[in-house]
């Protein structure tokens, strides 16, 4: 198993910076997802690792092998990086049968015909497409095409797997199935995997590690749990999670031997050493971390219901008080009338505090 290491990598297109000063370590055998909005540099990062683009500066190592360095005059082309690459468009060669699509890359490796045939069989078996070996890509469904692309990879036995939004062309049902298959592929090949997506659900469900990127810069690299619960910045907090995280502007007030953050209608006790600038702070709160009561409770925040959106297994309730707007997520199917009162409560532990100017997590 190989690790992938990027040090001080920068890539520009003309005046536009696509990747800025990136240090990235992908542990051997890790399934790492790069998550971010479109144009954040995630695909460029993948293409740099693949060797399809060259950085302006910095170094790239695959395992202990230096594959790119302008300073040292090293450039290993993608052909020699032993990669597996899966594209959004599958990139099957339309004028070749499934069989040819899979074996073309094997031919150059001076393998015997029997060996190639065996590898072909294995790969087709793995994706359950044995009967379709003589079909052309245009005669296959989207899911089958995707599986051919996977089979093509399996046959090459790459040590590094790179996937660029491989599921975004599939419909919702297939997407869930394919997610499982890609994860299994990663496990079978024992390949270090970099997966690029803008879909946070894919990122959270598939990965061992998530890297969130924005504006050419890595915002956070952490486990899915930490990305979700301990976002390093406001951007990460707001980008990850559906429905969108609640954002509250607060003021820190001392006195009576305890420090509290005051959100206007509601305040929470916090530790005294919270490092705030000018007494102002931004807090985030996951919608599912809010407790809810239909009857009045002492010390709870009274709000009225603005909208109720049941999705079946859970219900999104939009509420507001005089100063705050809060989205609440409750399991189950709720039906409530708008403008009815509701009482909410949340704990300090559910809150993350951010510097109101830099957007950095104060706990970090």
């Amino acid at each position: 198993m190989e690790d992938i290491r990027l040090t001080g990598v920068r890539k520009t297109y003309g005046k536009e910076v696509a990747v800025e000063n990136m240090d990235l370590l992908v542990e051997p055998g890790d399934f790492l997802t790069i998550l971010g909005p479109s144009g954040c540099g995630k695909t460029t990062t993948l293409r740099l690792i693949a060797g399809l683009e060259e950085p302006d500066r910095g170094e790239i190592h695959l395992a202990d092998r230096l594959v790119f360095s302008r300073e040292q005059g090293v450039l290993v082309p993608p052909e020699n990086r032993n990669l597996g690459l899966i594209f959004q468009s599958y990139a099957l060669w339309p004028h070749m049968t499934v069989k040819r699509n899979i074996t073309l890359g094997l031919e150059h490796a001076r393998l015997s015909r029997e060996h190639i045939e065996r590898k072909l069989q294995q790969a087709l078996k793995k994706v359950q497409l044995e009967e379709l070996r003589d079909r052309y890509p245009s005669e296959l469904s989207g899911g089958q095409q995707q599986r051919v692309a996977v089979a093509r990879l399996i046959a090459m036995e790459p040590t590094i797997l790179l996937m660029d939004e491989p599921l975004s062309n599939l419909d919702a049902m297939l997407r869930v199935d394919m997610r499982g298959e890609l994860r299994r592929l990663h496990k079978d090949l024992e390949a270090t995997t970099v997966y690029v997506t803008h879909d946070q659900v894919e990122a959270l469900t598939l990965s061992d590690t998530v890297v969130v990127m924005d504006k050419a810069v890595v915002q956070q690299q952490a486990s899915p749990y930490d990305i979700y619960h301990r976002p390093a910045s406001l951007f990460v907090a707001e980008f990850v999670g559906n429905p969108r995280i609640n954002r509250l502007d607060g003021t820190v007030r001392g006195g009576n031997g305890e420090t509290r953050v005051d959100f206007g209608d509601y305040s929470v006790p916090v530790e005294a050493d919270l490092d705030v600038r000018n007494g102002s702070v931004v807090a985030t709160l996951r919608p599912e971390a809010i407790q809810l009561s239909k009857t009045e409770k002492e010390g709870w925040l009274k709000v009225r219901i603005d909208a109720v959106q049941p999705t079946g297994s859970e219900t999104v309730i939009k509420t507001s008080s005089d100063r705050l707007k809060l989205t609440v997520l409750q399991p189950g199917f709720f039906q409530m009338a708008t403008n009815d009162p509701l009482w909410l409560h949340f704990e300090r532990e559910s809150l993350n505090f951010f510097d109101c100017e830099t957007g950095k997590n104060l706990a970090a």
Binding site: G14, A50, G73, R81, L85, F87, W93, L104, R152
Partner: protein, 601 residues
């Protein structure tokens, strides 16, 4: 550090062949396109050996404005430059106006109205463009030749005993008419393409907004057609400026010179300097015209109203005018395609020139054994004639070779341009592969004579070789083939090649197994287009052919010059048949759109 930089550059070139290709083609094409231009500018501004007859004291190679003075200010200027220039402009403007009007009206009738036999007329309307441009001129002579110059007179004299006046037989009027009947095809193709993409809904939206019918035409349809109209005007004007055959056939007998025939004349009279200056005038005129057009129209690209989804087009009902207009279009098509063919066939069967009676018919000029020195200088009929057969062979060879080279070049240049897109080198390569477009054919021929008549650097003198003909044909067709190549490459998603790279497949194998198979149809269409152009081209190569490299078009021109009109007619018919046969083949295999390579200009 330097070593690392060099090592990196080496690896990069090795792993990115597209950069290597771009650089390589940039150098080669600069040499083939730009150096000749520099060379003739130099030749035009220095004394040449042949000038010593006029200026015995001159030093060969020394700087001089001698040629410029001769052409622009000297005693001969009026004959050398002013008159041909005026004539060229008259021809250019006349052909452009007439051709674009005919083409646009035809396009409108066939695309937007309910005129009868639309598909049939549509297929036939482009046939004149497939034929060599001077076919019409030959046919014109069969009909209207008068006693002004030697040889027999035409049909009009034979059947009605009328001597057509000179201005009908020769000169400006017939040249404009004959060329317009050929070049209207540009306007027709471009305008019908544009008309097809104008959604009726856009006009209907105008109707809903309360516009009257003429307002919708003027305010909505016309502006959308403007870019196509602009391209048609530019294309027609430049082509008619550079054309040689028709002005030569119909102008030279009455000493009506255009710039193109004057260039031919000067080079033939060994006053090459004058010819080069005139060729430069043509290039500057063409470039200025393209520039002006680009400025006026803003962008060269046409407005895109093509959204990819289908839209309705309701044909305009012509009412009582339907059948009269159908008849008119039919008549036009008959007289621009079938009449010339019939006239040429008839001419080729006439024994004593000028006698068009049935009793005077013969197959002698097709299959006769020759030998009679009083009969067409003893020349055999075309099908038994070595001179003809060798010219035919040369033409086909030229067509096939040029097509092959162009196909490969189009593919590789297209690949290099598309894969390095966004870099300076890509832009330069695209511009330079488009540059031959601004050289009128005759001027390019003159430029190549100037450059390759003696050895140039490591390259031996190429004048008189078949290779030079292939080279110039390839260069002249480069703008079209490289465009086909670029279009073909755009069809192939980048990821198809990247997937192959990741699979460890090297460049040669990627090209042969993926890129080439996927771009075959586009490249083949470009090759066929080159073949057809090469077969019928006269203006480009008339200055470069020698007896041993003679091609069909040049031979026909020679026959006509010797007043062997039957041979000329028979040979022309064979040439036209081959060209049309190949055209039909291309349309069958690759669709009609493939022949409209010019739509992208």
């Amino acid at each position: 550090m330097l070593r690392a930089t060099l090592a990196f550059a080496y690896y990069k070139l090795k792993t990115r062949p597209e950069y290597f290709l771009s650089g390589f083609f940039l150098v080669v094409l600069s040499f083939l396109v730009l150096t000749p231009l520099v060379e003739i500018i130099r030749d035009a501004l220095t004394y040449q050996s042949y000038d010593l007859a006029y200026r015995p004291e001159a030093v060969e190679g020394a700087f001089t404005t001698f040629h410029l003075e001769r052409v622009f200010t000297g005693r001969l200027s009026k004959a050398l430059f002013v008159k041909p220039m005026v004539n060229s402009l008259l021809v250019g403007v006349g052909v452009t106006v007439l051709g674009v009007v005919i083409g646009s009206i035809l396009a409108f009738l066939l695309v937007r109205t309910d005129i009868a036999f639309r598909p049939f007329f549509g297929a036939l309307a482009v046939v004149p463009y497939m034929m060599p441009s001077w076919v019409m001129a030959l046919a014109w002579l069969v009909l209207f030749k008068n006693d002004r110059i030697g040889g027999a007179e035409g049909m009009l004299t034979y059947f009605f005993d009328i001597q057509p006046p000179d201005w009908i037989s020769y000169g400006l009027v017939p040249i404009v008419i004959c060329l317009a009947l050929h070049y209207y095809a540009f306007a027709f193709l471009l305008m019908s393409g544009a008309l097809m993409t104008v959604d009726s809904e856009l006009e209907e939206a105008g109707a809903v907004a309360g516009m009257a019918r003429w307002q919708r035409m003027v305010r909505i349809t016309m502006p959308l057609l403007l870019p196509a109209l602009g391209s048609a005007v530019v294309l027609t004007f430049i082509r008619s400026l550079g054309t040689f055959g028709t002005p030569a056939l119909l102008g030279l007998p009455v000493r009506f010179f255009t710039l193109s025939t004057q260039i031919f004349n000067s080079l033939n009279a060994r006053n090459s300097g004058d010819g080069f200056v005139l060729a430069l005038v043509l290039v500057v005129m063409a470039a200025a015209f393209i520039y002006a057009n680009t400025r006026i129209l803003g962008v060269r690209k046409s407005f895109v109203t093509l959204t990819g989804k289908g839209f309705r087009q309701r044909p305009i009902a012509l009412g009582v005018w339907r059948w009269p207009l159908t008849a008119l279009v039919g008549l036009f098509i008959a007289s621009s395609i079938f009449l010339p063919m019939i006239l040429l066939l008839w001419e080729s069967l006439v024994f004593t020139p000028g006698d068009y009676s049935f009793s005077n018919m013969t197959t002698y000029f097709w299959i006769g054994s020759g030998g009679d020195i009083d009969l067409a200088s003893g020349e055999e009929g075309v099908l038994t004639n070595d001179r003809f057969l060798s010219a035919l062979w040369n033409s086909i060879r030229l067509g096939v070779l040029a097509a092959g080279v162009n196909g490969l070049l189009g593919l590789l240049v297209g690949y290099a341009i598309v894969r390095t897109r966004g870099t300076t080198i890509s832009k330069s390569l695209e511009s330079i592969s488009f540059a031959p477009y601004i050289f009128p054919s005759i001027a390019l021929g003159a430029i190549y004579i100037g450059m390759f008549s003696t050895s140039y650097g490591p390259i031996p003198a190429l004048y008189g070789t078949f290779f030079l003909l292939v080279m110039i044909t390839v260069v002249k067709n480069l703008p079209f083939t490289s465009r086909t190549g670029i279009a073909a490459m755009h069809q192939i998603d980048k990821s198809l090649e990247e997937a192959a790279r990741a699979q460890g497949i090297g460049w040669m194998k990627r090209m042969s197994k993926i890129i080439v198979p996927l771009s075959t149809s586009g490249i083949m269409a470009g090759m066929m287009l080159t073949f057809i152009t090469a077969m019928r081209e006269l203006s480009l190569i008339i200055l470069l052919v020698t007896p041993s490299t003679q091609v069909l078009a040049g031979l026909i021109f020679g026959y006509n010059d010797q007043d062997q009109t039957q041979h000329a007619a028979a040979a022309t018919l064979i040439l036209v048949l081959i060209v049309i046969a190949v055209n039909i083949l291309v349309r069958r295999s690759f669709g009609a759109a493939s022949l409209m390579g010019l739509r992208q200009t």
